[in-house]
Symmetry: none
Subunit: 211 residues, 4 copies
């Protein structure tokens, strides 16, 4: 049967192919984790030959880089938009930012079942580290503005943002969190409260989209 069909060779622009590969890899890395995903899985998913992969990427780890980069760029872009929205107060923008992160966390939870979540330590770790590195400055700017406008009361904006973001990351990284509604409710209240305290805002300034 295989012999009856001539494998049609579709040449695309390098960028198109690269993106297809990154798309496939993203899904697989999320589903099965980086280590558990073979290069052969990636190429099979978009029906190209093994060699094609190595035409576009030097190695398997290079595509991880690309996946992570693209993922983060998207987040960063959205975050920057939120941060640049001059129509909202600093507190409102900070609130938006946090809720955006929550949305991201939720959508990736949908892809990852608990069993596979562990396999993702590597990718999650990378994404988290890089995201932190890139997001902290953006959010810190909001904080800084908030301090200047008198909305926030914070000593070290950058470091505080760093600490706040790490706390958020960890919380949303916990498996099963979104399912335990009672716990989620307590976490919501706690986080909102702690944000108020850490940023020196009045109670109930922040409202997280956790339900």
């Amino acid at each position: 049967m295989k012999d009856l069909f001539i494998m049609v060779r579709i040449a695309k622009t390098p960028e198109e192919r690269r993106n297809e590969l990154i798309d496939a890899a993203t899904v697989l890395f999320l589903e099965k984790g980086y280590d558990e995903t073979a290069v052969s899985d990636i190429v099979k998913k978009i029906n190209v030959a093994q060699g094609t992969f190595y035409y576009h990427f030097k190695s398997k780890s290079e595509i991880l880089e690309a996946v992570v980069d693209r993922f983060i760029s998207e987040i960063e872009k959205a975050m920057t938009e939120i941060s640049d929205n001059r129509e909202k107060s600093s507190a409102a923008r900070f609130n938006d930012a946090v809720n955006f992160l929550i949305k991201i966390a939720e959508s990736s939870k949908e892809v990852l079942d608990d069993v596979h979540q562990e396999n993702n330590a590597l990718m999650h770790d990378r994404i988290a580290k890089i995201t932190m590195a890139r997001l902290v400055p953006v959010l810190a700017r909001i904080v800084h503005q908030g301090v200047e406008s008198g909305e926030f009361n914070v000593h070290h904006p950058i470091e505080s943002t760093d600490v706040i973001l790490s706390a958020l990351f960890w919380q949303f990284h916990q498996p099963g969190l979104m399912e335990d509604k009672q716990r989620l409710a307590r976490i919501k209240i706690t986080l909102e409260h702690l944000l108020d305290r850490m940023l020196g805002t009045a109670d109930h300034t922040f409202v997280l989209n956790l339900k």
Copy 2:
């Protein structure tokens, strides 16, 4: 060279051998990461045959379990001691607990160079998750007592402890943190300050051993 000598057969009690193996594995997992460590590396390190490993552990992942378990048991034990020290105030005990975690983080940093730290995502992730799960209750008890004695002002002790611990974990997980002395100093001040705010204590209640 190795080939010229027939290995001398030294029988030990299973417990001894098991511990030797766990010791070796711990070091290697920290140095090179779990995936990058082969069972053959472990046995070579203590000069036993490959089969010896499988006499004591059913699989490679079983020894990871053992490594993690032992690591955490030690931490838990120390933490419980700190927490049970009735001679100190809640704040002092909480302070001790945090400094103990810092000490652990520092000593594991010594083993892990930055290059290899990434390989450790899996083990770090496991340790972190389990440690959190086991440590949160212990620390939360301190917080709870502090609330009762009026030292702390916290709404949800467990959730707050969870958030605080996650923030700490993340901070100390950051590569190169301990080397950047300036940043470290700012982080120290920030964390101390945020702890005060989150726990509702007077400024400068907490003093972290970060230098």
Copy 3:
């Protein structure tokens, strides 16, 4: 816990232990096949140490020998008894012999599920070959006597017996045979009929216990 009990060392006569080991091995070889059975399985089954095995048997294959030998000796003994029963006609004794083989086949089918039956190729093969070698003379004697008494009409008693036995062996070796009642009924009639023809007896001389 293990430390609290002192493993009681029970010394038995070599013959007792040997037999225990053969018993265990027989069951395991039937259940899982020779290759799939580890020496460690055998010793675990009767709670003795690995070394004990090698005190009684030089090698794993030696115990297979022993298992097969004992199995066959039992068959041979029963067969000889049947064959020596001077109160019955040759045809009746031959009939008894065949039915005895059927009984053996049935009882081993009970132990072996179809999945594992394939693993038993080796043991079955051995048993079959040796059984044939030892049983053919015994049965051939009955045939010979039957020829002399005029009951049978056979040219080469030994070779004929050999052929008849091989046919029987194969038939009963077939997986699932005993379950397919319809087929079994046809096989029964066919075998009875062919036996009559091969031995030159009147129709319905032989009645096989297949139901």
Copy 4:
């Protein structure tokens, strides 16, 4: 020596390579038995890398399947040809068929020395079972036609064929049979005679090529 040369990479069509591998495996399985043959033996025999094997077969057992399949297909094809030869009587065709089986048995005996024959229990068993399943219908058809044309006198063609074939298989499976010329002669006469009786033909209808 081998280490000094880098293997030249020769790409062939999957079918070619697959067949090369099956060829090599067939010989080795016959010579040493399935268990005793390592995948590394197979690839060494045709000078390809270990990985090449797994590019073409999912597992070692898959190539056993392939070996057996090909073996049997060849037999089946030849048998069908014999069976379809309308120019010969049923008896003549049945005779041809039996002689063809004898030829197969003889040629495989050449490869298998007695010592290694035992290792082949698994493969022989498989081949025998499958061959029986596929050959019985073909031969039974001849028998059936013979009954209709009045050449044979048989009650249950299928079951009778089954019994006859099993007897033949076993006989030719016996080690050393072909070497013991005297015994072979007696077996020849006996089989010829029993075939006549079982199929209800006149004496000396069948002539087996055993010498």
